[in-house]
Amino acid sequence: MRDVLLTAIRGIGFGSIYAMLAVGFVVIYKSSRVISFAQPALMLAGAVLVSYLAGPIGFYGAVLVAALAIAALGLGVERATIRPMIGRPVFVIAIITLGLDIAIRVVVNAFIGSDVRNVGDPWGLSAVDVFGLPVQERYIAMVLVLVVTVGALFAFFQYSRYGLAMRAASLDQETAMVQGVSVGAMMALSWAIAGGLAAVAGAFVGAGGGIEQNTWIIALKALPAIIIGGLDSVGGAVIGGLLVGLVESFFATYQGEYLPWLGQNFSLVSPYVLLLVVLLVRPYGIFGTREVERV
């Protein structure tokens, strides 16, 4: 029982990170119907920035600065490379984001070097006692940061003028334009939000273990998360992210014992197995919009 709970807590902790990344993907998808493959690079860039800034200004300050800086980077990237491509096939834009991902990572890698970099988080691997369970502090922090960021985002979409305008633009661009909403600005805003979320996720990915050049791969786990949750649902992305984290964590703990014939490290591919299962049952994801074609 104790193991089950600890496994679940670890799953929810890492799941929170996947969820934050997944929400970034969804926000961009909703505004421009594009999946941005540049998210992993933005995450890594955020993490690196935090690793450099944590010393001089402290971890929390560094996270804040990194989130703003990467949001600005997202804005710039959107303006320079995506905006001129509006109206082109979505596939073309997706490929551009792939190129962006590689370009940004090359730069970022130069700052990481060949070793593991510590992001300067205050938790490390230390644990606190919660009802007799040694829960690692970093998992608690990950969940908290998910609740805060996504809660703020929900409030933004629900109550603020710009959040509403973003939702409107994602539903029907022409109608939104006629209401005086600048669809281009909303798209830029979505890139900024996704960038900021990716940077925060990056900082927390590094908590406890540090980051290295290959850390970007973690961001790809957000892909099964968004497909499970439904590409166009922010809430679905959160649930999807948490599910991916849980499945991965449980496979890591128990697969060697109960399903040894699956080989080692099956937990790494388990999110994709979950993805296949969900797609077989609900092809549009758990919370996604069913495509309805009216004739």
Binding site: R161, L171, M177, V178, Q179
Partner: protein, 261 residues
């Protein structure tokens, strides 16, 4: 005054849709714009509200002016901010938003006046107040039209452009919409009403324009248009002798003879 001068619009660099259209919408009036499908009415509205771009259209000659200033190169949001608000054909409410959220989007350019405008819209359309929390997609066609008009009014426009508000509505509702247009106009909003339903448009408009294949072919006070034999025959469905003829055959011949040189 909103004016369109000798406007020429081309889609995709090849399809000439408007060929030198001129039209004037003086402040305070209701102006009707009639024409069959494909005449270019919607394109004209797009040119005014800055939507040509996303339809791959461009103004190649002529201009659109508001109080003498050219506005045909502005973005849609700048045009809305200058007080021109359009209701698109087919209502286009945000179906999954509540009625009030739809209206809030309409207030995007005027956040400060939102409360006052909301009150005005609910006064004009009490139905919307009853259904303010409902998803707009579940409203009836007439209610959706009211919502679309209310949403456009949330930016407190000086000019309201309506694209076929009577489309797909029962005659009784068409009358309701017509009365609402009169009411909105009497509160100081100038209206450009694009319609296929000529009798409805001419019953509220002070002045009417008739478009055919990208040109304005007639331009008269609405009362005179209502009396015009050709309008009676082709747009109001009344034969010249008061009897219904198979006007399909006649239409082509007479049009050529009278209107196009």
């Amino acid at each position: 005054m909103l004016a369109v001068n000798n406007l020429e619009v081309v889609y995709d660099d090849v399809v000439l849709v408007l060929r030198g259209v001129s039209l004037q919408v003086p402040e305070g009036q209701v102006v009707g714009l009639l024409g069959a499908n494909g005449a270019g009415k919607t394109t004209l509205l797009r040119a005014v509200s800055g939507l040509l771009d996303i339809h791959h259209g461009a103004v190649t000659r002529g201009q659109v002016t508001l109080d003498g200033d050219r506005i045909d190169h502005l973005d849609p949001q700048q045009i809305v901010a200058r007080g021109i608000s359009q209701v698109l054909e087919g209502r286009r409410v945000f179906g999954e938003f509540s009625v009030e959220e739809n209206l809030r989007v309409g207030a995007h350019t005027r956040p400060k006046d939102r409360a006052a405008n909301l009150e005005r819209v609910y006064d004009l359309f009490p139905r919307l107040l009853e259904r303010r929390a409902q998803a707009a997609g579940y409203l009836s066609g007439g209610e959706q039209q009211m919502l679309a008009m209310g949403r456009a009014l949330m930016s407190n426009p000086r000019y309201l452009l309506l694209d076929e508000p009577s489309l797909g509505l029962a005659p009784q509702l068409v009358a309701t919409i017509r009365d609402l247009i009169t009411l909105i106009n009497s509160q100081g909003t100038t209206v450009l009403l694009v319609e296929q339903n000529a009798s409805m448009a001419l019953s509220v408009a002070g002045h009417g324009y008739v478009m055919e294949t990208g040109k304005v072919v007639m331009d008269k006070p609405a009362a005179e248009l209502l009396d015009d034999d050709d309008i009676k025959e082709f747009y109001l469905g009344l034969g010249a002798e008061g009897s219904e003829r198979s006007f399909r055959n006649v239409k082509h011949y007479r049009r050529r003879k009278r209107w196009l040189s």
